[in-house]
Amino acid sequence: STEQEGSSSSSGSSAAEDCINADEAQAEYTASWTSVKEAFGLTDFEPVDETVCQVDGEQWKAEPKQGDSYRIAFAAQGPTNSWGVLSDEALKYHAKELGVDVLYAAANGDATTQVDNIQQLTSQDPDAMVVVPMGDGISGQVKAAVDQDIPVVLCSGLLPDSSGAVSTVTRQYDLLGSAYAEWIAEKLGGKGKVAILSGLAGVPTAEYQKAAAEKTFAKYPDIKIVTTQYTQWSPTVAKTVAQNLIASYPDLDAIWSDSGYGALGVVQAYQEAGKAVPPITGDSINEFIQATEGTDVQYALSTFPPEMSSTCLDTALDLLKGEPVLDKVYVDSPSFTDADGAQYARDDCDGGLLVPSSAPEDLLVDLKMCKAS
Amino acid sequence: MPETALGARGVTKSFPGVRALDDVTLACAPGRVHALLGENGAGKSTLVRILTGDESPDAGTVVVADRETRLGAPREALGLGIVPVYQELTVLPEMSVLDNVLLGQERSRRGLLDRGAQRELARAALARVSLEDLPLGTRTGELSLANQQLVEIARAIARRSSVLILDEPSAVLSGDKLQALHDVVRAIAAEGTAVVYITHLLEEVPALADDLTVLRDGKVVSSGPATDYTTDRIVREMVGRQVDQVFPDPAPPAGEVVLRVSDLVPVGSSAPPAHLEVRAGEIVGLAGLVGAGRSRFLRTLAGARGRSQGGVDVGGRRVRGSLTGAIAAGVALVPEERKRDGLVLDLTAAQNITLTDLRQVSSAGLVRTARENAAFDEERERLGIKASGPGQPTRQLSGGNQQKIAIAKWLRVSPRVLLLDEPTRGVDIGAKSEIYRIVRELAASGMAIVIASSELAEVIGLAHRVLVFRDGAVVGEVHRDPDSAERIMHLALGTAS
C-alpha cells in the first residue's frame, strides 16, 4: 500500500480514547506551569495542552522474577557531566533505600550506544526498566523491551508515542523553553533584539527547548531574533560566542540561553567588555548564581532536576506493585529570577550543582559535590 | 617478423637541472641481446622508463615493431609485449611469491582467480630462473635479496613478451644464480624475443650480448655488434678517456692493531664466531656472494645490529654494542645502501656532511651556517665533490657525488676505523677510481679500513688481505698475490679443495 504506516496512531489520539483521565494528574501538570508563571511573574503563560492519563496498574503488576527483590534496569546517560552523575547516583541511592537491585548501563550521552545498552539490559530480563533517553533513535529498542513485557519508564526526557513506554517522568522542554522566552518578552515589553544560545546542534534536549522558545517569540512581532548560536553547553565556547555577539550586536536587549553554563560564559564576556549584561536565562547552576551574586545581572533560571530519576524509580516500582500510575508525570522544580536568586547559592557545593537540589545531602557529600556541613 | 622490435628515434628528456637523454636513437632487433652500457647517470634507466611508457619523452618517439608509438603508462607497453625489469626491485615483500610472479597478469575465470592456472604459470616461470623448489606461498620479503630479484625476473618471463628489458639484473646476483640468469636470457632471445640488457659488469658483455650501445651523458656515443668491442674499448667509450684499473701495491701497514674483533656472532646468525684484527693503515677486504653476510658483519661492527656474542675493541677499549657507542669509539660505517641508509636526500649536501657531528658546527646548540659551509668546502676539497654549492639538495647529485658525501660525512668525525660496504655500487668508473684513491689516502693517514664489495677486482686491488664469507661465516683469508682471485671464488662458492 502507498499508505504511511501508523500515521493515524502517531497523532496520539488513539491513546486518548482509552484514557482514564485523572483530574488530579491534569492539575499536577498545570501546577508545574503555574509555579513557573508565578516565579517569573509572567502575565500570560498557558500550558500547552496535554492529556495525562492513568495507566492500568494491574496490567504490569508482577512478582520479582529473580529472588525476592525487584531488579530494575537503568539505561542511564552516564557521568558525562554533573547532571548525568547526579541523575545516575540519585536513582542508585534511592534504590539502595528501597532495597531493589539496579542493572546499570551508561550511554555516555550517545543514543547509538544506548540502543545497545537497552538491548543488553533487556536480555538480562529485568522486572522493569528506567531509561534516560539520549535521543528518539532509541525508541525502536524501547519498543522491543516493552514488547517483551518489561515496563519501561522514560526518565527526564521524551520519546514519541511509538516507543510504547508505559510512563514518562520528566520536566517539559516546552515549559522551560517558552518560560524563558516569555520572561524575556515581558522584560522587553514585547520589543527588542534577542540572541538565542542553544546547546548542541542535533541533540533533542537542546533542539526542543530552542523550538519552544522560537514558537513563543514568534508571538511577539517586535521581538527580533538576531542570531542563533550553539554553546555546546560549554562556558568557554559560550564566552567566545558572546564576545562575538558584543562586537556584532552591541545593542542586544536580551539573551535566551538554555543552560547556566552558557549564561556563565556570556556574563563573563560582558563583564570583561565592561558592558551591562542583558537579561539572560538558563538553568540554575550554582556557579552562575555565585558569579552573579552582588551584580545587577537580570536573569531567570529554572532547573531540569537530575534527582528526578528517583521519582522515575518510584514510578517503575508502583507499576510493578500494580499501583495507579500516570502515563506522564511532570516534575515540578523551583524557578526563580535575580530578585531572589542569591539565596540559592551554595558556597559549600560544587559549581556544577543545580540548585536548589532536592537530592539527599549525604549523597551530595558522597559524590564530593558538597562539603559535609 | 619486424626489423626493430623496440627502438627510439631522437628521444630527448630533461629533468630540472639535468639533460638525461639527448637525441637518443636506438634499435633492438628480435632474437638478439642488446647490451646498453654507460656510466652512472648516463641515462640508461631513463631511456628504459621512456621505452616502457613510465615516463614520456620531451622530444622524439618510441618505435615498437617498426611503428612509432606513444606509450601512456607501463600497462600500455606491457600490452604491446614490452616487459621491463626495472633497476629497482619492485616485488612486494608482504605478498606471496605466487602473487608477485602473477601481479598484473592474474588468470581469472568469471571474475574469480583461476588458482590452478595461476600455480602452473608461476611454477613454469620460476623453474626457468632455477627457483623450481621455492614454495609458492612464501612471503617474498622472507627471501634473500638475490631470490627476490629472480622472482622479479620470473614475473617478467611469465608474460608473453616481444621485448624483455633488464636494467642491471646482475647487480645483486652472483654464482649459479647469475649463471641461471644468463641461461634464461639466451633461451628467451632464442625464442625470438628482443632483449635489452643493462649492466655494469663488463665481463657479462662478451658472454651475452649480440649488439651493444654505449651512452655517455645522455648521448649515444657508440653502437654496433658486440664482437667489434673489447672491454677496453667499451670502457674508453663510456668514460671518454682511458682509466687504468691496475692497483699499485698498498704501503705495508705499519701501525699497531686498532680494531680487534673477538668471536663475534651477529644477532640472527647461526654462523660460527668471527675473529678479525686490523692495524692502523691496513685495508681489509670482505668478499663473498650476495647474502653471504658481509653487510651483516659490518652492520654489527658498527653497532647497527645486535651481537649475540663476542666483542669489538678499538685501540684496546671495548666498544659498546650500539651505534652511538661505536661512533664514540671511532667506528664509522658507510652503508651499502646510500639512498636509504647513507644519506638524507632531502637535506642539503652540507647538512648531510655535518649530520654525523653537529657539535663541530654549532655552539650552544645553535648551528653556525658559516662553519657548516666551511666544513662542506673542506670535504669538497678533500674528496673532489662536484656540487653547485653547500645548499644543493643531495637528491640532485649524481650517484658518485652522493657516495662521496656519504663518505665525507664520516670523515668529519675522523674515525679510527672506517667500514665501507659496497662503496662503489652504482658508481661510475670515473668516480670509482677517485674513491679508490680516497680509500688509499685515508689508510695511509693511519685509518683502519674494512671494505666489503661484490667486485672481486676491487677488493683484491685495494686490500692488503681479503676475508671470504660464505653463509654468514668467515671461511678463509687470502693475501694479495696473482692467483688470489680464483682462491677467493672457490672459498666463496665452497668449492675449495
Binding site: 500500500s1 502507498t2 499508505e3 504506516e5 501508523g6 500515521s7 552516564g78 557521568p79 542493572l103 546499570y104 551508561a106 555516555n108 550517545d110 543514543a111 547509538t112 550506544t113 545497545d116 545498552n117 543488553q120 533487556t122 536480555s123 538480562q124 530480563d125 528518539d136 533513535g137 532509541i138 525508541s139 525502536g140 519498543k143 514519541p160 511509538s162 542535533g202 533533542p204 533542539e207 526542543y208 | 613510465d54 603508462a73 607501463p74 600497462r75 621491463p84 626495472y86 619492485t90 612486494l92 615483500p93 608482504e94 605478498m95 602473487d99 601481479l103 598484473g104 581469472s108 574469480l112 582467480l113 632455477s130 627457483l131 620479503g141 622472507e142 614475473r155 649459479d176 644464480k177 640472527g268
Partner: protein
C-alpha cells in the same frame, strides 16, 4: 644458495611465530577468547543467555560493516575518517525519506547504498585522481558530510517502516538478522580480497604504489574501488542503524570512524597498507563489542568505562602491532 634464506631480521623463532600469528590476525582472538572465558566465569548464565549474545552480535553489526570498509581502504594504504559521518547521513536520510511509507523502503535502501558509493567515489577520486593525502581528504569529508546531515535535519526526524524495524529485531536462533548482513558482507569482502584480481591489486597498491604500477596495475580504479567499497558498506550500516533506531538522528554515527580504525589496527592490519587479515579485523570488532558488553555485564562503575576501554585498546595495540621490518 638456491634455497630460501633466513627471514629478514630473523628474530627469535618464538617471536617470529607470534608475529606470524599477528599477521594472520589470530592474535587479537587470543584476547577475545580470554575475555569470553573471564565473562563466562564471572557471569556465566548472564553472558551466555541467547539475549545477551544477540545483544553483542547486534551491537557488532554496524561497527562491523564500517570496520570492514575501513579494512579495505587501509589495505590500499589509505584511511577513511569519513565513514562515521557517512553512516550518520545515510541513516538519517533512510528515516527521513522512508518516513513510514512501506513502498519507499526498498528504493530508499538502494538509494542509500548508491549514496554511500557516491561519497566513496568522491573520496576515492580526491585521493587517486587529485592525489591528495587520504587523511585530509576524508577528514574534510567528515566535516562536510556531518554538516550536510545537520542541514537535512537538526533534530531526530523521519520514521522507518515496520518491515525495517522487524528485520533489525528478527533473529535466526540467537543470531540477529543484522549480524547475518555483517556475515554476508564479510564473506563478500573476503571473496573480493582473496579471490579476485582486484584484491591482489589492492594489496599491491597498498604495499607499494609504484611497484604495482610498474607491474601494469591500474592504480586509480583499484583505489576508487576501495573507497567505494567503504562507502557502500557505510551506506548499508546506515540503513541498519536506522532500522535499529526506527528514527533518524543527525548524530547517529559520530565517532564510528575511530572505533573502526581501532578495530582494524588491533586486528593486526598495518596502517601503512599492503598487509592485513580480515580475520584480525573481525576479531578487533568482536573485542570492542565485547568490551562494551562486559562493562555493563560486570556492572563496573560507570566512571571507569573509558579508563578500562583505554587500557584495553592500548594493551591491544601495544602487543599486536607488527613492526615494519628495517
Amino acid at each position: 644458495m638456491t634455497s630460501v634464506a633466513a627471514p629478514r631480521g630473523s628474530r627469535a623463532p618464538r617471536l617470529a611465530a607470534f608475529s606470524g600469528l599477528v599477521r594472520r590476525g589470530g592474535a587479537v582472538w587470543v584476547i577475545v577468547l580470554a575475555l569470553v572465558l573471564a565473562l563466562t566465569f564471572a557471569r556465566g548464565t548472564g553472558f551466555w543467555n541467547s539475549g545477551n549474545i544477540a545483544a553483542v552480535l547486534a551491537g557488532a553489526a554496524v561497527l562491523g560493516l564500517v570496520a570492514l570498509g575501513q579494512h579495505v581502504v587501509v589495505l590500499g594504504g589509505g584511511i577513511d575518517l569519513s565513514v562515521g559521518s557517512m553512516v550518520t547521513l545515510t541513516s538519517l536520510l533512510t528515516a527521513v525519506l522512508v518516513d513510514g511509507y512501506p513502498i519507499r523502503t526498498v528504493p530508499v535502501i538502494v538509494a542509500m547504498v548508491v549514496l554511500g558509493a557516491a561519497m566513496g567515489l568522491l573520496n576515492g577520486s580526491l585521493v587517486s585522481v587529485a592525489r591528495l593525502p587520504p587523511f585530509i581528504v576524508t577528514l574534510g569529508m567528515l566535516y562536510l558530510v556531518s554538516g550536510v546531515a545537520l542541514t537535512v535535519s537538526a533534530t531526530p526526524a523521519g520514521r522507518v517502516t515496520a518491515a525495517l524495524t522487524d528485520f533489525s529485531r528478527a533473529t535466526l536462533g540467537p543470531v540477529p538478522a543484522p549480524f547475518l548482513v555483517l556475515v554476508a558482507a564479510v564473506a563478500a569482502v573476503w571473496l573480493l580480497l582473496a579471490r579476485t584480481p582486484w584484491g591482489r591489486h589492492l594489496y599491491a597498491v597498498g604495499g607499494d604504489q609504484h611497484a604495482a604500477r610498474a607491474a601494469g596495475v591500474r592504480v586509480r580504479p583499484v583505489l576508487l574501488g576501495a573507497y567505494v567499497t567503504s562507502g557502500v558498506l557505510a551506506g548499508l550500516a546506515g540503513v541498519l542503524l536506522a532500522a535499529r533506531s526506527a528514527i533518524g538522528s543527525p548524530t547517529a554515527g559520530s565517532g564510528l570512524e575511530l572505533s573502526a580504525i581501532t578495530a582494524v589496527v588491533i586486528g593486526g592490519t598495518s596502517l601503512l597498507g599492503g598487509r592485513g587479515s580480515l580475520l584480525g579485523t573481525v576479531g578487533g570488532v568482536a573485542l570492542l563489542a565485547l568490551i562494551t558488553n562486559a562493562i555493563t555485564l560486570l556492572q563496573l562503575p560507570s566512571t571507569w568505562t573509558d579508563l578500562v576501554r583505554g587500557l584495553i585498546i592500548i594493551a591491544a595495540v601495544a602487543v599486536f602491532v607488527v613492526r615494519r621490518p628495517r
